[in-house]
């Protein structure tokens, strides 16, 4: 039994499952919800299968249909892919269950097929072994994300989605140009082959610039973040959670993979330092803007801008800080995904309950939606980087690297970012305790919507206690341990 299970191509299932569920949901709109829920649970199960396979046999590679690299589709899974697949599966299942309470039946048939398509794109992206497939999945991801963001059809959301669409297309275009240059110069799209051939040349630098700029735009790195807050804040709450937790991480995932796999030729650190400076600005700008917001969803969206900044702080640190910095980044991606998804679900609950999300008028929700407020508090702990939480582990490792290398500026920015995060999280919690002159409409919120938020937030906290085993899992394939060893 065990021997047969280890042979299963879990990775292929991970792509085909959501894809066929999306088709089925499209063909049978009345059953879309049930199909989607079943698929979500099966995906979670499949990721566990893949994880088990990886721990037993190490890195997994698969050639779809027997065609080799430039023509066919190759899949590749190591510890980092597994982390992202697992994060998507956990957030995906929680958001799927949440959305059964959030969406009316009429919205269901539009939400489920698109969401499953997005999930298929995410999984395929995390498993892609060549840059062209990365491009295809990235494009598919962007388009399904824009569709989801405009789901309500309100004026705000449509104009925000339009801006989102243009940004994401522009980003993909730059990315496509970059990989076109690489293919033209080095004659391959396979990351493993490219990593042997790419050298220090003008074309490589041009490709590096285009790819980095395109992906930074899609990841909403300051100053390319302009599209994110309106798009994330005007989307329906479950969609906001998916966009903030998973979609922006996907483009960052590509950046990190290519950075480690292809662009290790660059000895001088100008680009890395520039990314670091933009990241630092993002931390400050995003946090200050979050603090200034009067609406909860906008606050949470700007918090994402700030948290993305932390991811980019790692680039200057990693030059001498080595692999620990990348582990910290992977950990931050995980804990931010869990915590931020929880926060958007919380915002959805409060919006449903009170009919608005103005922070100063939260009107004693702490008594009336205790589970939801607890979820916000726990998620907030991880976002602030306070112990015990996944966010703390990541920020401790980053701070340690910054201080060990004498990067005082980065260390200072990290401390300041944490304090500002505490300020905006507790601003919300403070108003949740006191009565407001404007009463709430007090619509009851289904229990599963509250508990899903709490589940994700609790997982973000629990991530603070399992750093050692989790980092071992992330380390499968040793992507971070020796730069450029992409198999």
């Amino acid at each position: 039994m065990g021997a047969q299970l280890i042979q299963v191509d879990w990775a292929v299932v991970l792509i085909m499952l959501p894809l066929s569920a999306a088709m089925l949901g499209f063909l049978l709109p009345g059953m879309a919800r049930n199909i989607g829920l079943l698929a979500a649970l099966l995906i979670l199960f499949t990721v566990v299968g893949l994880g088990w396979q990886l721990t037993q046999t190490g890195v997994y590679s698969h050639v779809a249909g027997g065609w080799l690299a430039p023509l066919g589709i190759q899949l590749h899974a190591d510890g980092f892919s597994l982390l992202m697949l697992a994060t998507s599966a956990i957030v995906g299942v929680a958001v799927s269950i949440y959305s059964t309470g959030y969406f009316k039946a009429a919205d269901d048939q539009r939400f489920w097929p698109t969401w499953l398509l997005l999930w298929a794109a995410l999984n395929a992206l995390f498993l892609a072994a060549d840059v062209f497939n990365l491009y295809v999945t990235l494009e598919l991801l962007g388009l399904s994300a824009v569709t989801l963001a405009s789901l309500t059809g309100s004026k705000d959301s449509v104009s925000a989605a339009m801006r989102y669409l243009l940004s994401t297309l522009l980003g993909s275009l730059a990315f496509l140009l970059g990989i076109g240059l690489l293919y033209h110069q080095y004659g391959s799209v396979d990351i493993a082959i490219l990593s042997e051939r790419v050298n220090d040349s003008t074309v490589s630098w041009a490709a590096l610039g285009l790819i980095t700029a395109g992906l930074a735009l899609k990841t909403a790195l300051f100053p390319f973040h302009f599209w994110l807050p309106p798009a994330h804040a005007s989307a329906p709450a479950p969609v906001s959670a998916l966009l903030s937790a998973l979609v922006v991480k996907a483009s960052f995932y590509i950046l990190l993979r290519l950075w480690l796999g292809l662009f290790d030729f660059q000895q001088d650190s100008t680009v890395a330092n520039m990314l670091g400076i933009l990241g630092a600005t993002a931390v400050l700008w995003g946090s200050i803007q979050a603090l200034r917001q009067i609406r909860l969803k906008m606050l949470v969206a700007y918090s994402t801008v700030a948290q993305i900044g932390y991811l980019f702080l790692a680039f200057p640190l990693a030059q001498t800080g080595g692999n620990r910095v990348w582990y910290a980044v992977a950990y931050l991606m995980l804990s931010h995904a869990l915590a931020k998804a929880a926060m958007f679900l919380v915002a959805g609950n409060m919006m449903l309950f009170g009919g608005h999300d103005r922070i100063v008028n939260l009107d004693r929700v702490v008594q009336r939606l205790p589970v939801t407020v607890a979820a916000f508090g726990l998620a907030g702990v991880s976002i602030m980087g306070l112990p015990p939480s996944g966010g703390f582990i990541a920020k401790w490792l980053l701070l340690e690297a910054a201080l060990a290398q004498g990067h005082w500026g980065i260390a200072g920015i990290m401390m300041l970012g944490g304090i500002l995060a505490a300020a905006y999280v507790f601003k919300v919690l403070g108003y949740a305790f006191i009565p407001s002159p404007v009463p709430h409409q007090a619509v009851s919120v289904p229990a599963r919507m509250q508990w899903m938020a709490l589940l994700l937030a609790t997982l973000a906290i629990m991530a603070g206690f399992v750093a050692q085993p989790l980092m071992q899992l992330i380390g499968i394939g040793a992507l971070f341990d020796s730069t450029g060893s992409m198999p």
């Binding site: 505490a422 305790f433 006191i434």
Partner: protein, 499 residues
């Protein structure tokens, strides 16, 4: 013994698990809630008693769990850790009984007692932490779990007090984190070691170590209410009386003071800290805080605010005793951790009783209150005499040892501070006692409740009587084994100074 590896963890879990269950209870399930509260407190007391006996006989209790690739979560019960654990465990039990009586008819009790338990969990974690990162973890948990208790009443004033508390403590936490990470990147270990682990560090890093010391003490000084970090404490008085008791005697302020002891003795080592020249400024700061707190207390009419400023002053005795850097003074400082705790909690219980029973909040309303509530005011009187430092109450022992210790290392100026502070303490406590016992009671109390046969409800009356007796006994029986004083001497021998 294999069991010894898990007892420190069990001590933490004995309040964490009941606390988590309490959150899920409805308001009506008060029997279950009370059972869980008392059960957790008694179980913790039993475990701590077992460890006290074990540590006295040189057994080791240590729980070690992996936290980061090369940093562990360590809970270790040494003599100093147990000193603080015993204090908070004992006072937690008493305060729980008091809080059950105090909040009898108020809303949201499940939330209150849930966070109450978390707060004690964090305090016990702070006490048992075996390295600086574990300490930091529980220290921040303490900040977070206290916040909902401060804003519990849900008024705008409470929200502002909570905000002020957080502004101070989050900044303090950031300083502490910064100092801790810096220290770790410098020396690669954070394990608390008797007599410190930094004396071998190369001399070129000494200026860095001084900055780290300032960062750590700054971070801890916020909770320990040192100048200029104590603005939050008087504002936090808006919280219910059991919370004030917890803040001032059991948990928050104490965690800061305890952290200072840890940093000075178990991170830097007292001799090394003195050779860096950082202890003398700490002593001056503590002395200034003592005088400042007492002066401000003089001018408060609100009873709880006067007590709050008194805390600012009294807790700095701990830092002062520690920073004088002499064996006897450190015994005085450490023992004051417990002495101040039992005395101050008595005073806050009594203030809560006056407010709940008679609606008396101000000192100007306290005329003749001793005739209406003789037992409460008797307890208050013992606490107040202890604060002034009159023998045989426990406070006298602390001051005696700090004074002797200062003379031992030729720091005569400390005596002036002690004398001045005692005078000021007398100046702000004696008028209260005079008014309460010798003035005529008013025709009508501001807001009187009738509790039948006794002067107030028994759940409110018995806790201050117990703690007042403890304050008295700690002074009278100071020379018996297992008294706070004897235990402080044991700590000094085993952890502070090279014999």
């Amino acid at each position: 013994m294999i069991w010894n590896n898990w007892i420190p963890l069990l001590v933490v879990l004995s309040s964490l698990l009941p606390g988590l269950v309490i959150f899920t209870l409805s308001e009506k399930q008060w029997r279950v809630r009370t059972f869980l509260n008392i059960f957790g407190a008694v179980a913790k007391l039993g475990l701590v008693g077992w460890m006290l006996w074990g540590v006295y006989h040189e057994q080791h209790f240590e729980t070690r769990l992996a936290l980061l690739p090369d940093l562990d979560l360590v809970l270790r019960a040494g003599p100093l850790a147990l000193f603080f654990v015993s204090l908070s465990t004992l006072l937690w039990l008493v305060t729980t009984v008091y809080a059950i009586g105090y909040l009898e008819h108020s809303p949201h009790r499940s939330r209150f007692f849930g966070f109450f338990s978390l707060c004690v969990t964090a305090t016990v974690g702070v006490a048992l932490a075996g390295n600086l990162i574990t300490f930091l973890l529980f220290y921040e948990l303490l900040t977070l779990s206290t916040y909902p208790l401060i804003v519990h009443r849900g008024t705008e004033e409470a929200r502002k007090a909570g905000q002020s508390y957080l502004t101070y403590t989050i900044l303090g936490g950031a300083l502490l984190l910064f100092g801790t990470v810096w220290l770790y990147s410098l020396v690669g270990t954070l394990e608390f070691t008797p007599r410190g682990f930094l004396s071998q560090v190369d001399a070129q890093h000494h200026p860095t170590l001084i900055i780290i010391f300032v960062l750590l003490i700054g971070g801890l000084g916020v909770k320990a209410a040192l100048i200029p970090f104590n603005g939050w404490l008087p504002k936090a008085m808006v919280a219910p009386a059991p919370v004030s008791a917890l803040l001032h005697a059991v948990a928050v302020v104490k965690a800061g003071a305890f952290g200072i002891i840890r940093v000075v003795y178990d991170v830097f080592g007292i001799d090394f800290a003195a050779s860096l020249g950082v202890t003398a400024p700490l002593a001056w700061l503590a002395a200034a805080t003592i005088i400042y707190g007492s002066l401000r207390a003089l001018f408060q009419d609100d009873l709880k605010r006067r007590l709050a400023y008194s805390t600012i002053s009294q807790v700095s005795y701990i830092a002062l005793g520690v920073a004088i850097a002499g064996p006897l003074a450190s015994i005085g400082g450490v023992v004051h951790l417990v002495h101040q705790g039992v005395m101050k909690i008595t005073l806050f219980f009594c203030a809560g009783n006056l407010a709940e029973t008679l609606g008396v909040h101000k000192i100007s309303e306290m005329n003749g209150v001793g005739r209406r509530m003789p037992w409460t005011m008797a307890a208050f009187t013992i606490g107040a005499f202890g604060m002034i430092g009159a023998p045989p109450v426990a406070g006298f022992i602390s001051k005696w040892y700090i004074g002797l210790g200062a003379l031992e290392v030729d720091q005569g100026w400390v005596l002036l501070v002690l004398a001045g502070s005692s005078l000021l303490n007398a100046a702000y406590f004696l008028p209260i006692l005079h008014a309460a016992w010798f003035r005529k009671p008013p025709e009508k109390w501001p807001h009187e409740h009738d509790f039948g046969r006794h002067e107030t409800s028994l759940a409110l009356l018995i806790p201050p009587l117990i703690t007042a007796s403890l304050a008295l006994l700690a002074g009278v029986l100071a020379m018996l084994p297992f008294s706070p004083l004897e235990w402080a001497k044991l700590i000094s021998v085993r952890e502070f100074y090279t014999p």
